[in-house]
Amino acid sequence: MLEVSNLACSRGDHLLFSDLNFSLSAGELLQVQGANGSGKTSLLRTLCGFMMPVAGEIRWRGQNIRELGDAFYAEMIYLGHLNAIKDELNALENLRISAGLAGCKVDDKQVIAALRRMGLRGRETLPVKVLSQGQRRRVALARLLLSNASLWILDEPLTALDVGAVELMQELIGKHLVSNGMVIYTTHQPLEVVGVATRWLALS
């Protein structure tokens, strides 16, 4: 489904990696590995279309993502280093807006259910600025529950999460993969999803 061929990326004029080839099909999990500065985040941002590759191609269902544009964005969800939540809004409003922007029509019941699933019961209507780092990350991750995207691109999804939340994430990813989803992620913490062989992609 997702194919990357001969990809080269640079940060400024500095070449990060080149001749990168991999593909990902339904139900697969890909972990991107590499030292600091090896271009993990750049790779994910290139996959999202934020950065233009220096060379090579990224294809989704056989078509270049640059040509696909909106059709590709409708099928993917990206979670970056930043939580993409507004301090002034509460968790409920935040999720309602981000789901709306992603093109999903959701009602408050679904949003509340998603927040509770992420262990934020009782925090739904508090302004996000009073939440802890880990709780904010949970709010951000709750977006995954509300989206029907098949490709998840997660940059360090486990930062600031406690053990319970990490287990929850493993469960969520497992469920997503079982329903023919795809996940690409970077992490420095081990992530073990039951019943799925993790594929590795090492950037040197």
């Binding site: 999202c48 279309g49 934020f50 950065m51 233009m52 909106d70 059709a71 964005y73 409708a74 993917m76 969800i77 990206y78 970056g80 280093h81 930043l82 939580n83 993409a84 939540i85 507004k86 301090d87 002034e88 809004l89 409003e93 807006i97 981000s98 709306g100 922007l101 992603a102 093109g103 999903c104 029509k105 029907n148």
Partner: protein, 227 residues
């Protein structure tokens, strides 16, 4: 899959930005107070002769409006850029230009519209005749959205740069000169008894041109800045 229509997207983003602005009311008020103070300082600087003040009024109000709108440009994208929401907005499966247009409109409602409402009061300080006040409102209504639109391009280009505030003024102010000329010219024309129509229609033409091009250019600038 239920896709969001363009109108839905437009209203979603406008409502979001308005709610955010309302929760940070102090920022909005700062722009307005800045505008009032700048305009009120002029008589103290040049003296209280009513004849001179009446002559200066259109230019003073317009320059102050220009400076006040520069002041608020920093907020247009940078908060969203810093907390990552801008990244998410670029992944919206809809045209980024429409989203940008929504943000510009919201920005104008929060920072341009209050200036338009406040301007006649300030005009009275300068003893402007009633007719001129109406023209001032009309000109500001046509002109301040253009300032927001040109400003959006500058704000997008300078996203996340150090010294962005001063830089954005340097980039944007020269481009705003036609708006200043026609806007202040309209008010001067009514005071001197010549036709106002040509000024206002030129301003309207500029608004249309800006409406067509700037959201697209801003979207392009955002893509460049996010890379």
């Amino acid at each position: 899959m239920n896709k969001l229509s363009l109108i839905d997207l437009l209203s979603l983003v406008i409502r979001r930005d308005l709610v955010l602005a309302m929760r940070r009311r102090a920022d909005v008020l700062t722009t307005l107070i800045f505008f009032v103070i700048v305009v009120s300082l002029f008589p103290l600087g040049v003296g209280p002769e009513m004849d001179m003040l009446r002559k200066m009024a259109p230019g003073v109000v317009w320059v102050a409006a220009l400076l006040a709108s520069m002041l608020s440009l920093g907020r247009m994208f940078s908060a969203d850029y810093l907390d990552g929401t801008l990244e998410q907005m670029m992944l919206v499966p809809q045209s980024l230009s429409v989203l940008v247009l929504a943000k510009i409109l919201a920005h104008w409602m929060v920072s341009g519209l209050p200036l338009v409402i406040m301007a006649p009061v300030l005009g009275l300080q300068f003893d402007m005749p009633t007719q001129a006040l109406w023209v001032l409102i009309a000109a500001l209504l046509l002109g301040t959205p253009i300032l927001s639109m040109i400003g959006a391009v500058g704000a997008a280009l300078t996203l996340g740069l150090r010294g962005g505030g001063a830089l954005v003024s340097l980039l944007v102010l020269p481009l705003c000169i036609p708006v200043l000329i026609f806007g202040a010219g309209a008010v001067e024309a009514v005071v001197s008894g010549t036709s106002v129509g040509s000024h206002l229609s030129l301003l309207g033409a500029l608004l249309l041109i800006a409406l067509v091009f700037t959201p697209w250019v801003t979207a392009l600038a955002l893509r460049i800045s996010m890379e």
